[in-house]
Amino acid sequence: MAIVSLRGIGKSFRIPSVRRDTVREHVFGLLHPRRFEELRVLDGVDLDVRAGETLGIMGRNGSGKSTLLKIVSGIYQPDRGEVRVAAAVTPILELGVGWNPELNAIDNIYLIGSVMGLALSEIRSAIDEILSFADLERFANLELRHYSSGMAARLAYSVAFKAVREILVLDEIFAVGDAGFRARCHQRYRELSAAGHTVILVSHEPYTIASFCHRAVLLEGGRIAMDDRAERVAEAYLRLLGGAAPAVPAPA
């Protein structure tokens, strides 16, 4: 049974040829009609994800992977098509921008946690675990503006992993953090997947896709150009980019 089902998803962004972002520009621009360039990012995406499946998404920069994840997460609205998501989604996107720099780690955890749907009591009892997973206990009372970018990203993963609902949506997740933290993330990710969570994962790393996903799709020209076993898609992705395809290990 499909837990996520996308039918004919289309999404365009209007890129103004002459950009007008202010009232002043609008007032003075009235004399010249505004021209837009239509940027078709997604153009008829059909995709089904089964419950418990881990799906990888690959594609070039700007091919619309993040846009697709945001549509699945309900953060963007598609222009066309039908989105059916039968369970709650936890997106982990755009790390490092999701903080109030004036607040310390604990208050930021409360903010993000309650936005993600945790009760205050749940957050209170999870604080220690979140900080220790991120290995940031010493920095609990430090304002986020003094965090290094890697530390902030670790905190973001840590909170999100704690708040995970049925479906986990990850964008370039394994790209940050040091080796030790990455290993812990991999471990946690495998646990979540083994516990039956559905995972949708975007990565440029063929090895990550091949080793963490059952299945993958290749996004190209606004559509799903390929939908196959993860390692095959990873190879096709490398060919697409014109690189030689090194042997990709089979999923563990």
């Binding site: 609205q77 936005v115 993600m116 205050l120 196959d228």
Partner: protein, 271 residues
């Protein structure tokens, strides 16, 4: 699409997990608490400093204008009531207008009712106004001129309507600000002019009667005038006046909700 069998056997569905908006009160409380903390560095002294701002204004303006309006017995008390009501309006609209932009980083974390971000953004201004209201009523009581119970009730009603107007304004402008990035500057100019349009430093009576209607269209005016009437003069505004205020409130709030509902679903794309 190429179909292929999934190798993994079906696995158990995970246990009940949190849903966005499942605990809206926890979210509201966290937003109010952290806003307060950021604004006042989490200290009572910081909060007292914020109260000091309208008081300083009061002292300065009093020094100048109490001579101009020396014949007005209630000038002082009228001035401070108006200054605090104005300060609430100026502060809450300024913060409300930029609220979605300032808290935009939360919009990409999960899908949740984003109007909560806008409505809670006025909380600091509400707290200041609440403290001031208690102080001014206590002061009037100590001065031997306590407002009547009915007067007090109406004062609270005006504050409630004032708040709803500000919320309506914030809902509309917070989504529009994402598209028109100099809206805050436009509003700053309007707001500055508005200080003089509202009868704060001058009694409304010095202006010709035919202008009054236009001044009353500016929302702070009726709230300030009516509050002065029930608190200071001890008289109730007419039913027509009350209906007018209720009408302005309803229109502002409804317009705010409509504009917000129209633009909020795409707010994240404009951040």
């Amino acid at each position: 699409m190429i179909a292929f069998p999934i190798s993994a056997a079906p696995r158990p569905v995970p246990a009940r997990r949190p849903r966005p908006g499942a605990h809206p009160l926890g979210l509201v409380w966290t937003l109010v608490r952290t806003d307060f903390k950021v604004r006042y560095h989490g200290t009572v002294a910081g909060f007292l400093w914020a109260l000091l701002k309208p008081f300083t204004m009061f002292v300065v303006l009093l020094g100048v204008f109490s001579f101009v309006f020396a014949s007005d017995r209630h000038y002082k008390i009228n001035l401070i009531v108006a200054l605090f009501l104005w300060d609430f309006f100026a502060e809450a609209t300024k913060v409300g207008l930029t609220s979605l932009h300032a808290k935009g980083y939360l919009l990409t974390k999960a899908r949740f009712p984003s109007w909560i971000l806008v409505v809670t953004s006025v909380s600091n201004a509400v707290i200041t106004l609440g403290v001031f209201s208690v102080v001014i009523v206590a002061f009037l009581g100590l001065a031997g001129r306590p407002p009547s119970l009915a007067g007090l009730g109406f004062f609270i009603l005006y504050l409630g309507q004032y708040l709803l107007m500000v919320v309506g304004f914030s809902l509309a402008t917070s989504v529009l600000f994402l598209r028109y990035r100099d809206l805050n500057q436009v509003w700053e100019v309007v707001s500055q002019a508005g200080f003089f349009v509202a009868p704060i430093i001058y009694p409304l009576g010095i202006l010709p009667e035919r202008l009054h209607f236009y001044l009353y269209v500016w929302p702070p005016t009726p709230v300030i005038q009516f509050s002065r009437m029930v608190l200071v003069d001890g008289v109730l505004p007419s039913t027509r006046a009350h209906l007018f205020l209720a009408g302005v409130t309803a229109v502002t709030l409804a317009a705010g909700i409509l504009i917000f509902r129209r633009h909020a679903p795409r707010a994240a794309e404009y951040l």
